[in-house]
Symmetry: C2
DNA sequence: CGAAGCTTGTGAAAACAATCACAAACTCTG
DNA sequence: CAGAGTTTGTGATTGTTTTCACAAGCTTCG
């Protein structure tokens, strides 16, 4: 298909559109204009159309987009709808919260393995899972064919864990550890760094008058 | 001072630099070049210099940047070092994990109030705090002079909670609820949307060959 | 002290992303 | 079925961020 590149912000907007479309579909709405989607998403109609045009043309001029079709198409593009198996490393509080987080399950993300290196945690039951020794990550992840890894360890363990994931065939990692991971280009890595988010808030608080872009 | 605008990505990079500088200072290193900082941060030396130049010029040509000074200066810029009081709304698992998250405390973020609307949770002890009724948020937040709010509620409660925060004088909000909040321009808002992060991973997995920009 | 060697700070250029603006294509109405 | 009214898809434009490239300034060493 056409170009081979999409900006991160465009991708995030697509996720938002999908959520709005789901709501519209529940309301039984049949079609929707780029204008309406834009309003909900805090953007412009031209932006919506550009974003969608990366993947084809789904709308009818004069009418708008058919809600169910566009929702299905977007879901397909974003990989929502099928089930994704996830391995979680770090059986701490944050790991437990993510494990229990309903939003994940509802979106098709299934945690199929939990690892830790703390002997007191290894062997504990988490729902129908049992916390495994991180030393066995390679074998376990391979056996289960997991594709996505979530790193919720302290900073100093994160790099090793991520490398073990990559060695075990995982190619997409979501990292919550407050540290920059260095991984092969071929691995898709996203960071959720809570301290950085808060620091950005503080910056705004201490620099009134400054604009934090985008 | 000079311009009045900084891009979000530049701000995030500054947070990273700060972390690296702290590590370098612990190692007793006296000076560091933009090149070294760039290598650690996965960027380029020119980018580092541009980022820093927003706030003045801290380096010495031929030598690099003095590590302790630059660290102190960056910490000041990002508001690290002083204590920030935080109010947390949503006494669920994720809220509890954030409350206990050591990275926050270490960076000066102190949760001084926790709210929920569930009668079974209200009144419970969390460390030295007690979960308060979200109905009393306004008075409590005002009394404590809280500046930062964290929303960890389900999606449908988030907007109301955020508005209550704003009404109580909070001007910086970190939102974990999977929903777009509409707030006055004057409020600084940042979103952490876990589903969107995972969807971006899935996108990369299903669209091999595509590049997700920046 | 003068020359060689680094490294910064910053205009200028390039790459990238958002917005504009409009022809083309559809619907709806009478 | 023709004309009025919408709304898409997209080239052109504008704006923003990153990268380039180099003069200027500092250090070190003979």
């Amino acid at each position: 298909m056409s170009p081979r590149r999409i900006s991160d912000s465009a991708l995030q907007r697509l996720s938002h559109y999908l959520r709005f479309l789901e709501a519209f579909e529940d309301e039984g709405r049949e079609t929707i204009s780029s204008e309406d989607l834009a309003e909900r998403g805090g953007t412009t109609s031209a932006q919506v159309r550009k974003d969608l045009s990366h993947f084809g043309s789904f709308g009818k001029r004069g009418l708008g987009y058919p809600v169910p079709e566009l929702r299905a198409r977007l879901a397909g593009i974003l990989g929502v709808g099928r089930q994704w198996d996830v391995a979680l490393v770090g059986a701490g509080k944050l790991g437990a919260a993510l494990y229990a987080y309903d939003g994940f399950r509802r979106r098709g993300f299934h945690v199929v393995a939990v690892f830790d290196d703390d002997p007191r945690k290894i062997g504990r039951r988490w729902g129908q899972l049992e916390v495994e020794d991180v030393a066995t990550l390679g074998a376990s992840v391979r056996a289960k064919g997991v594709e996505i890894g979530i790193v919720v360890t302290p900073a100093d363990a994160a790099q090793d864990v991520a490398e073990a994931m990559v060695a075990a065939g995982i190619t997409a990692i979501l990292n919550f550890a407050p540290r920059k991971l260095v991984l092969p280009e071929s691995v898709t890595l996203r960071d959720v760094n809570l301290a950085i988010e808060l620091e950005a808030l503080c910056f705004a608080l201490t620099h009134e008058g400054w604009i934090v872009g985008r």
